[in-house]
C-alpha cells in the first residue's frame, strides 16, 4: 500500500501545478472578456453590480474569473509549499529560488488588486489600508504609495493597470519555463476548465457590500487576515510591512544561509505559516 500512496502522491504533485497553470490561462481569458465591460473609473461598484446582475452571462464570467484566479494562486502556493517543505532551497540556485518566491508574491498581489477592483466597501477599505501602509514608510513612502494607488477619482486605476497589464505579463514571464514544459498537457487544461465551469455555473457570487453601507466589521482578503490581525495590535509599519517583509525576506534568503541558520529560518517560517493559518481560520 505505501507504493500506491506514493504513486497517488506523485501523480497529485505532478497534476496540481499543471492544473494551476491551466487556471492561469483560464483567468487570463475570462479577464480579457471582463475587461470589455469593466470600467475602473466613476462608480465602480455600480459597474460591477451591472456586470453581475444585468449584463448577459456577466455573473458567469465574473465567477469564472474569480474561481480560476483563486485556484491558480492556491495551487501556486501549494507548489511553493511543497518545494519549501522538501527543502529544495538546498539544491536550487538562489536565482531559481528567488524566481519561485517572487512569482508567488506577485500572484498574491494580483489577487489583492482583484480584491480592490470589486469596488465594494471591502475593496475600497483594502485599497485605503494598502495606501496608508505605504505612506507609513518614513522615507519615500509618499512616492512609493503613488506608484501603486492614488486617492480620489483615479483610486481604482493603478490597481487596474497592475491587475490587467503589468502583473499577468510579469508572472507569465517568470513562469515561462513551466509554460513551455507543461502547456501541452491538454488533460489538465480540460479538467481545470470543467471544474471552474461547474463552479461558476453553480455557485453564486459573494454578496458585495455597497461602499456607503454601515457594517460593524470589515474583513480583508483571506490571505491577509493574519496581517489584519497584526495591525490591530502593532503600529502599521511593523504589523503591515516590517514583520511580513522580514518573513518574505527570510524565504528569499534561504538558499544563501548556512545549515544551522537554514534550519532555524525553516522552522520560523513554518511556525509563522501555522500561526497565520490559525488566525485566518
Amino acid at each position: 500500500m505505501p507504493f500506491l500512496s506514493d504513486r497517488i502522491t506523485n501523480r497529485l504533485l505532478t497534476a496540481l501545478p499543471r492544473l494551476g497553470l491551466s487556471c492561469f490561462g483560464l483567468s487570463l481569458v475570462s479577464g480579457i472578456i471582463l475587461a470589455f465591460v469593466y470600467r475602473p473609473v466613476g462608480n465602480v461598484f455600480q459597474n460591477v453590480e451591472e456586470i453581475t446582475t444585468r449584463i448577459p452571462y456577466g455573473w458567469f464570467f465574473r465567477q469564472f474569473h474569480y474561481a480560476s484566479g483563486q485556484m491558480f494562486v492556491i495551487l501556486m502556493f501549494a507548489h511553493t509549499l511543497e518545494h519549501f517543505l522538501k527543502r529544495r532551497y538546498r539544491t536550487y540556485s538562489s536565482r531559481e529560488w528567488a524566481v519561485l518566491i517572487l512569482s508567488l508574491c506577485l500572484c498574491f498581489f494580483v489577487l489583492f488588486t482583484g480584491f480592490i477592483l470589486k469596488g465594494d466597501k471591502e475593496g475600497i477599505f483594502a485599497g485605503r489600508i494598502f495606501m496608508n501602509l505605504l505612506l507609513s514608510i518614513p522615507i519615500g513612502g509618499g512616492v512609493l504609495s503613488r506608484v501603486f494607488i492614488v486617492p480620489g477619482e483615479s483610486f481604482f486605476f493603478l490597481p487596474y493597470l497592475y491587475h490587467c497589464m503589468i502583473l499577468p505579463f510579469l508572472i507569465g514571464y517568470l513562469i515561462r519555463k513551466h509554460v513551455r514544459e507543461w502547456m501541452p498537457g491538454q488533460g489538465s487544461f480540460f479538467w481545470a476548465t470543467m471544474g471552474i465551469f461547474v463552479y461558476a455555473l453553480l455557485i453564486d457570487p459573494f454578496m458585495d457590500i455597497p461602499p456607503d453601507a454601515p457594517v460593524n466589521a470589515v474583513k480583508g482578503p483571506w490571505f491577509f487576515l493574519g496581517i489584519q490581525t497584526l495591525l490591530k495590535f502593532l503600529p502599521p509599519l511593523w504589523g503591515g510591512l516590517l514583520i511580513p517583509g522580514f518573513l518574505v525576506g527570510c524565504l528569499f534568503l534561504l538558499p544563501l544561509a548556512g545549515p544551522f541558520l537554514q534550519r532555524f529560518l525553516h522552522y520560523l517560517l513554518v511556525a509563522s505559516l501555522l500561526l497565520g493559518t490559525y488566525i485566518s481560520l
Partner: protein
C-alpha cells in the same frame, strides 16, 4: 582578475548606476506626480437636524452651540468610521479603533484624534466643508 580589470568593472558599474538613476528620476517624477484634489460637501438645513450626520466622508456634529465637522477617515489606516448612536462613539470596522463624539481617540490601534475640518456657513444656512483628498 587583475587590478586594471577590477577597476574597469567597478567604473562600469558606477557609470551604469548613475545612468539608471538619471533615467529613472524623470520616470519616477512623472508617474508619482501628486495631483491635489478636493471636494465640497454641503450640509443643507435638513441635513443638520440630527446630532451627528454623515455625508460623503464627513461627519457633522452638533454637540453644542457651534457645530463642527470631523473627517470620517480613521487616523489609523484610513477606513471609514461608523457612528454608534447608542454609545455615542465612532468605531472603525477594520481594526477596532474607537473615538468619542468630539473626535478624541479612546482606544484601539489609532494614535491620533480625528481630523477636524474647517466649516463655513453660507447665506442660505448651508454648512460647507472643503475636503482635501
Amino acid at each position: 582578475m587583475n587590478r586594471r580589470g577590477f577597476l574597469a568593472r567597478v567604473l562600469w558599474g558606477v557609470l551604469c548606476t548613475i545612468g539608471a538613476a538619471i533615467s529613472a528620476y524623470p520616470v519616477l517624477s512623472f508617474i508619482t506626480h501628486k495631483k491635489i484634489t478636493s471636494k465640497t460637501v454641503t450640509f443643507n438645513p435638513q441635513d443638520q437636524a440630527s446630532t451627528v450626520t454623515y455625508k460623503e466622508g464627513v461627519y457633522l456634529v452638533k454637540d453644542g452651540p457651534t457645530p463642527y465637522a470631523l473627517s470620517s477617515t480613521c487616523t489609523h489606516l484610513g477606513c471609514t468610521l461608523n457612528y454608534d448612536v447608542v454609545a455615542e462613539r465612532f468605531r472603525c470596522p477594520c481594526h477596532g479603533s474607537v473615538f468619542d463624539r468630539s473626535g478624541k481617540r479612546l482606544s484601539g490601534p489609532a494614535t491620533k484624534d480625528l481630523r477636524r475640518i474647517p466649516l463655513s456657513q453660507a447665506e442660505n444656512g448651508d454648512l460647507v466643508v472643503v475636503l482635501e483628498l
